[in-house]
């Protein structure tokens, strides 16, 4: 793939029209008013047929899982141009939304991607029907709870959240933080360790599905964050939450928390590539326009070479990231996937570059860029988290190095 095709551009234009009509006029309330993004996202899902497509994919995934259980699974790794188009159809909306509201992409990705995906890859058929289906259509909103006040990048080493076996099920305890959609989530995947009185290091990692309003579960108000204001983030407090065994993902203690984890990390990391492209492209477009119209010393500032250098570097970044997006689409169509280390390398580069470009855009806009009146200010704050969530830059670097050094 060397450029967007006619259909891709048609999809892009349709999303631009939607953003203009539905998101731009609500920017103030979404970015600064704690209005949850879910109604706009639901409207987007229905408008573009994404809800129907999610349902179809859900049915297909169920059928595939049934086949795999029969041992009659089809071969993977076959070229499938349709898969490439599906990848493009996922990435174009991410790019266009990220130009204006990367937080909405985060809220959407955690709910319909991470939370639903975890249930789809680790849950029983009954659990998929009970929770994943509604998450995939956005009828319900999901959160995925792993991080704790004392455990971030070293998620499992320091994890304190616990499950104890009791008559008829489990009792869950623990505090979770930085939970995207936490304040509003209907369905929560809660990751914790099984406390059998053994050494915490040896404890099994289990995932449970919780629902809003369960006794002993507290969902806090949204945090005040540096950016991503349209993505509500909060804390979860569990105190002696009783769950029956049918809320244990997979309904067995033997299912590994690693099942599907690699795919999850990869899709998270490639999602960041598309988000970075949206941010960089928007910053570049806004900067070019500003450089042409802002006059200082009697000339448009675009006449000055120091400004030209900034624009040229932004364009280089845009080309690089766009090529990575094309590569991801091309790989999907060829039935191939990046290695985890490659996905890490992409995420590392794109997150760093988006932050650099957005900060340079603020610089180019000068005092105006530092005010919330100009969207580059928001994009610079939003971009920074790309280097932190989904695995910090430092974690990505160590994974790249591990793959290089063996």
């Amino acid at each position: 793939m060397i450029e967007w095709g006619e259909q891709h551009l048609a999809i892009r234009d349709a999303f631009r029209r939607f953003v203009d009509a539905e998101i731009k006029p609500r920017r103030e309330e979404l970015e600064h008013g704690d209005t949850p993004p879910y109604e706009v996202l639901r409207k987007m899902f229905v408008t573009f047929g994404l809800r129907d497509m999610s349902l179809m994919r859900y049915e297909a995934d169920l059928a595939k899982a049934d086949k795999a259980a029969d041992g009659s699974d089809e071969k993977v790794g076959k070229a499938n141009p349709m898969a490439g188009e599906m990848a493009a159809m996922q990435m174009i909306p991410i790019i266009e939304l990220s130009r204006h509201s990367p937080g909405m992409v985060t809220a959407l990705g955690v709910s319909a991607g991470l939370t639903a995906g975890t249930i789809m890859s680790r849950g029983t058929r009954a659990q998929k029907e009970r929770w994943a289906k509604d998450l995939l259509t956005l009828d319900t909103i999901g959160a995925w709870a792993i991080t704790e006040p004392g455990s971030g990048s070293d998620a499992f080493g320091q994890m304190k959240a616990s499950a104890r076996r009791v008559e008829g099920g489990y009792v869950l305890n623990g505090n979770k933080t930085f939970i995207t959609n936490g304040p509003w989530a209907d369905t929560i995947v809660f990751i914790c360790k099984l406390d059998e009185g053994n050494d915490p290091k040896d404890r099994k990692v289990l995932s449970f599905v919780l629902e809003k309003g369960m006794k002993g579960l507290d969902q806090t108000k949204p945090f005040r964050k540096m950016g991503m204001h349209s993505s509500p983030t909060g804390e979860l407090f569990l105190s002696d939450v009783f769950v029956e065994k049918d809320r244990l993902l997979g309904e067995t203690e033997e299912v590994s928390y690693r099942t599907g984890a690699k795919d999850t990390f990869k899709s998270e990391r490639t999602g960041v590539v598309a988000m970075a492209l949206g941010i960089v492209q928007q910053c570049l477009d806004l900067s070019v326009e500003y450089a042409k119209t802002r006059v200082q010393f009697g000339r448009p500032i675009g006449d000055f070479q120091l400004i030209q250098l900034k624009l040229a570097k932004m364009e280089v970044a845009r080309m690089n990231i766009q090529n990575l997006v094309f590569r991801i689409i091309e790989l999907a169509g060829a039935g191939k996937a990046m290695t985890l280390a490659e996905a890490s390398a992409c995420k590392l580069y794109c997150a760093q570059t988006a932050t650099e470009v957005a900060l340079e855009a603020v610089q180019l806009f000068g005092g105006n860029g530092y005010t919330a009146e100009y969207p580059v200010e928001q994009l610079a704050r939003d971009a920074k988290v790309l280097q932190i969530y989904g695995g910090t830059d430092e974690i990505q670097i160590s994974q790249i190095a591990r793959s290089l050094l063996g």
Binding site: E6, Q7, A10, I11, A14, T47, G49, M89
Partner: protein
């Protein structure tokens, strides 16, 4: 009901500042322009779709909508966009903009109408580039069909349409019999402006614009039929009856001046601008 919708591409109004006129002033340089369908023609397309569905189940087609445009191969992008939005098939008449005037467009559409035999021809009240407001009326004349222009509401009746037109000081209502030519105005896309014989009682569209094409429809638009015809096969040797002689850009605005106080402002308005 079978409806023929005539569409014209125009330079994206948001990028109008890219329009350039060469020094000779004999044409407009269209290089680098982004194109989209004339907004009023999009409203005509939305009208046609509403007249051929019941509103509640938009995937069930209750008639046929044929989208037509005249232009070079690139305009097929605009036709596919119309197909993605819901038109059933499309026809492109191969030509270029500078080989056309309103009369030729109307003549070509007349031939297409004679071949396709639609019950209704819909188009925008005018195109936002040339602003001629010509083709709909000329087509009705050539066909000798009833015509309603600037439609703000349309209600289907047995054998025809009741068309509401907003005029100075009120609304005038026309009854036209099929087959007919109708050109539409902005308000035709309001939630309850269009009622077909199948529209459920009390149904209102939840939007007042042209509908969005769902992603799967965008992907599948290429599979819908798109026929290409030659302009000469429709209009024979007919040539331009009007010709653009000269184009001029509006004069560049002069920089303003800053005044110290109201007194100076009033003085300049009186002596320099002669506005007071």
């Amino acid at each position: 009901m079978k409806i023929l919708v005539a569409l014209k591409r125009v330079a994206d109004p948001a990028n109008h500042n890219k329009v350039k006129i060469p020094a000779a002033g004999d044409k407009i340089d269209t290089a680098g322009l982004e194109w989209q369908i004339n907004p009023f023609d999009l409203y005509a397309l939305e009208t046609a779709l509403r007249l051929t569905e019941d509103g509640k189940a938009p995937k069930t087609r209750l008639g046929e909508v044929v989208a037509v445009t005249l232009g070079p191969a690139e305009t097929e992008t605009n036709l596919r966009s119309a197909l993605a939005t819901g038109a059933d098939r499309a026809i492109r008449v191969d030509t270029t903009d500078d080989a056309l005037d309103g009369r030729l467009v109307a003549a070509a559409l007349q031939k297409l109408v004679e071949e396709e035999k639609p019950d209704l021809v819909l188009m925008g009240k005018q195109v936002v580039d040339g602003e001629n407001n010509y083709v709909g009326q000329a087509l009705a004349e050539l066909l000798d069909w009833p015509m309603a222009t600037f439609a703000a509401t349309i209600k289907e009746e047995a054998g025809g349409l009741l068309v509401g037109r907003e005029v100075d000081g009120g609304v005038s209502t026309l009854r036209v019999k099929f087959p007919a030519v109708v050109t539409v105005d902005l308000r035709i896309v309001a939630p309850d402006s269009v009622r077909s014989s199948k529209t459920a009682e009390g149904f209102k569209y939840p939007y007042e614009e042209v509908r969005f094409a769902p992603l799967p429809a965008i992907m599948q638009a290429k599979k819908k039929p798109l026929a290409v015809k030659k302009l000469a096969d429709l209009v024979g040797g007919a040539t331009l009856s009007s010709k653009y002689v000269k184009f001029e850009a509006p004069p560049a605005r002069k920089a303003g001046v800053k005044v110290k106080d109201v007194q100076e402002l009033v003085q300049k308005l009186a002596t320099e601008a002669k506005a007071i």
